[in-house]
Symmetry: C2
Subunit: 547 residues, 2 copies
């Protein structure tokens, strides 16, 4: 019944994967130097036997006996997402918030059956795709455990098939539990790609992307899952909501958009039609160095408003580039790239480089690939190197956590006009906590996405707290920076979602009336509040109301 | 207090504008020939004095005395939108559903004041932008008149200012009552354009575009107001909802998308931040002829998936091209164009024409304008001619209505795979009614927008009913074609909105649960149901509940 035997119970990815020791050494050396202190040795990783985990609050109802388990490994694996706090608590062996049951439905009918029972017996249901939430989106809190008759983690992993290909409309119907690599593997024989590469790609699913409004890796145009989604089916406690397969639609508030970003709080997505693309055959890329981050930002602003729509345009602060093995530590780097399935991108790259040069950028050697064959591995080396470190980053974060460091990332979005103010506020807020609690720390920034009206800045904050203070410092940094984001008019999340960790800031961001509108929509499909209680919006059911 | 002294009370636009008689003669001759009958002479237009209009149900409350009027012309002008039924009823002199009061707020504070009174005194409030609804979106029905203490039309026309320009982020803050031409006029000194040209452009407003999810004139990429909206403020009976100025945002269901398409049923939009663009300086266009509509459609499909993103790509069926004075009646026409503020579009046009030629298209002479100066009038002649007829079409429709014809347009969207089936079903449904009721008729199609996954077909249906049967036939055609759209999985509206006319089909399109979600959101901001009752969603308050 379990799917994930090679997965780590305490953090990201596979238990069999090791961060290459030389890379870890580089990271340690860099951080030791910047923090001015030796890093402690890594703490041991927890074993399944040694975990603290309460027994299931009650036995699995007979109707679900064929679908659910109370297996210790399954419960451990479904206890946490991949936030920093999740990893620290897991390393502590604290699995007190484990779900009572883990269900592995094999069909949409199973989903219907599970939700019907859960609604009847007041069981909290937490949809689980790849388990990659970094915002507490799939973890039951104490309030949930106190308010419901049981907590069920609903793992969609068996719903992993490409069901239908519509070549004329270039769309595919796919089950919600399909992981990124399995999706691409099933698309490849058809000559297609979804071209959606969130950092969580390897261990996240189609349904999870939709539920959390995942951001793809590409910098402009159609990269967010929001735009790649044509229609979906969602099983709710009140029945199935199905949106139509419409390329465009002007009828009322767009139904897909009511469901995108609902984070399991309305229902569980069973399948979706996605807009796929032809495999790119033409590529052109170049790395551009800038003497200051501000100069790089000015080039990004101009690029974003140029109509050139680069596939990649990641501006990386020099310290971050150095840390990821992609820079000289002196200059800030813009990784720029274009792709097309139709025609050479040489001229577009040339136009983009002209814009960059005019604003103080120094381009490296452009790489143009006009090969007329679809080789998905034919990306350029710099991009490939960067992609490797991009995919490796969550593993590295786990190792830094074991070293007693406090690491957090903040991804947000604001206007070009507001970016300097926001940037100063984020740096001041983080630095104040790092100085007070860690005697200093490292803060770096990159731009992950560019819009004509503003960038999506992504901050990485690292400090070395006193022993035993890892979570306290993380809480303090998280609160201070989140507050700065909200106070400066930015968003609490550009693509990491709300979950439980961002909820109080989400409420400030949207305001009380918009929150009530979302709750009004929730009541229509989940009147008893069994769906992912406390994630995104406050639980409809408080402990006092418990029957 | 009134703004619209030169506006027609019975139809589209200005009372001073006349469709050029030669054009009207061409249209009459074309239709006479196709319908095989002489058209009757035009019926007279109604005069203000001769209208049937009940007196206001009660006097304006003293608190609104400075903002509202019961002036007969004002009430007449705010009675109807511009649907075919509206025009016929207006020509009949039937203004029985006139609002009791028309208010002209001068500030957002006035909106707050009006909604507070309306909520307290159970007055139905119908937000009015340009009054261009073609779906009954701004017309009080009998149920509304029976259920509320009065009906107030809320005209935003005085809120018509550009308030702020953010050059770095290329955004502007503008009041919701600003009409299209006034907006572009205020943007021009800054070198900007919104580049949003719905057919209603001259007589519709920013707030109306947002409330109805207006579709722009351009065929691909950022043309819908949905994508041009950065943030907005909406006054609701429960207070003001304000969304943040975020270029991207992953926090919960996107708040703007909850409000876009709400058609006045949640609240009234007071202002918005919009994403503007630099004026295009480079253009390339060409007309391509196709021997069959299917061949043109195949070229559109390929274009839509090419990544070329033409600004214009309107495929027009030969009869429609002929009727609009833009074709030879033998071949179907694709109006193709590219624009850019940055660089020559010559190569893009060349690539697009190659695609078309490979699929049987015969390009005319390409027109490339690489002039490096921003002359908004420098569009090519064919496009200009088409634009003229595009803007003139609603005036012409009014005149056809006076001739006793039944005219309706159906704009929808479906996948490429489903288009042939939908097209056959729409033609069969319309033809059956036209044959039975009018002894035949004319049906033509064009594509207004292209998406990678499908086109937005736009059908025009014209017949000549027996005298006195104009509305009955219109009702029958409307019902039959709408049913076909819904049965075939398409949308009831691509950009005309839902209003009252499409409501029962909208309910079938989204299904009962999604409808309840929208109603749940409505109850959060408008618990007493005073906002535009019966538009988009069923009124919360039925006559029986009347206090």
């Amino acid at each position: 019944m379990t799917l994930h035997q090679d997965r780590k119970i305490w953090g990201w990815g596979l238990s069999t994967y090791c961060v290459p020791p030389p890379l870890l050494d580089v990271a340690r050396a860099f951080l030791s130097a910047r923090l001015g202190r030796e890093l402690p040795p890594p703490r041991p990783v927890p074993t399944l036997d040694a975990l603290t985990m309460p027994p299931p609050v009650r036995a699995i109802p007979s109707e679900l006996a064929d679908l659910a388990t109370t297996d210790r490994f399954a419960r451990a694996l479904h206890t946490y997402g991949k936030s920093f706090r999740d990893v620290v608590r897991a390393l502590d062996g604290d699995f007190s918030c484990a779900p009572d049951w883990v269900a592995f439905p094999k069909s949409e009918a199973d989903l219907v059956r599970i939700l019907a029972l859960a609604d009847r017996e007041h069981v909290a249901v937490i949809p689980f795709g790849g388990g990659s939430s970094v915002v507490g989106g799939i973890t039951a809190d104490a309030e949930t455990r106190a308010s419901y008759s049981a907590v069920l983690s609903l793992d969609l992993g068996h719903l992993n098939q490409l069901l239908e290909v519509d070549r004329a409309s270039r769309c595919v119907r796919v089950q919600a539990g399909t992981y990124g690599p399995a999706l691409e593997q099933q698309l490849r024989p058809h000559g297609y790609t979804l071209r959606h590469y969130p950092q969580s790609f390897e261990f996240s699913t189609v349904g999870g992307w939709i539920a959390t409004r995942a951001g793809g890796h590409f910098a402009t145009l159609y990269t967010h899952i929001d735009d790649l989604l044509q229609s979906l089916r969602m099983v709710t406690p009140q029945g199935i909501v199905e949106t139509r397969r419409l390329p465009g639609n002007g009828a009322g508030p767009e139904p897909n958009r009511l469901l995108l970003g609902s984070e399991g709080a309305l229902g569980v997505i069973s399948e979706a039609w996605l807009r796929v693309q032809d495999l790119p055959r033409f590529r052109a890329s170049c790395t551009v160095r800038f003497p200051s981050f501000a100069a790089g930002a000015a080039a990004c602003q101009r690029l974003s408003q140029s109509g050139l729509y680069p596939a990649n345009a990641r501006l990386i602060e020099r310290d971050e580039a150095l840390f990821m093995g992609a820079g000289d530590g002196e200059t800030h780097i813009l990784v720029l790239g274009f792709e097309s399935a139709l025609e050479s991108q040489k001229d577009k790259l040339h136009s983009a480089l002209s814009l960059c040069t005019a604003l103080g950028g120094q381009p490296g050697r452009p790489k143009v690939r006009d090969e007329d064959h679809a080789d998905p591995a034919a990306s350029d080396e710099a991009a490939e190197q960067w992609k490797q470190s991009f995919v490796r980053a969550p593993y590295l974060r786990d190792e830094l956590c074991r070293l007693g460091l406090c690491c957090e990332t903040f991804e947000t979005c604001t206007t070009w006009a507001n970016f300097p103010r926001l940037d100063a506020a984020v740096r001041a807020a983080a630095q104040a906590v790092l100085d007070a609690e860690c005697g200093g720390g490292v803060l770096t920034c990159r731009f992950t996405h560019l819009y004509p009206d503003g960038p999506a800045p992504y901050y990485t904050v690292i400090g070395l707290p006193q022993p035993g203070q890892q979570l306290a410092v993380w809480d303090a940094v998280k609160a201070a920076v989140s507050q700065a984001l909200i106070d400066c008019g930015a968003t609490i999340t550009h693509h990491h979602a709300v979950g439980k960790d961002h909820r109080r800031f989400y409420e400030r961001q949207v305001g009380p009336l918009a929150l009530q509108m979302v709750l009004g929509a929730k009541r229509a499909v989940d009147p008893l509040g069994i769906m992912n209680p406390g994630t995104l919006v406050p639980a409809l059911c408080s402990p006092k109301e418990k029957t």
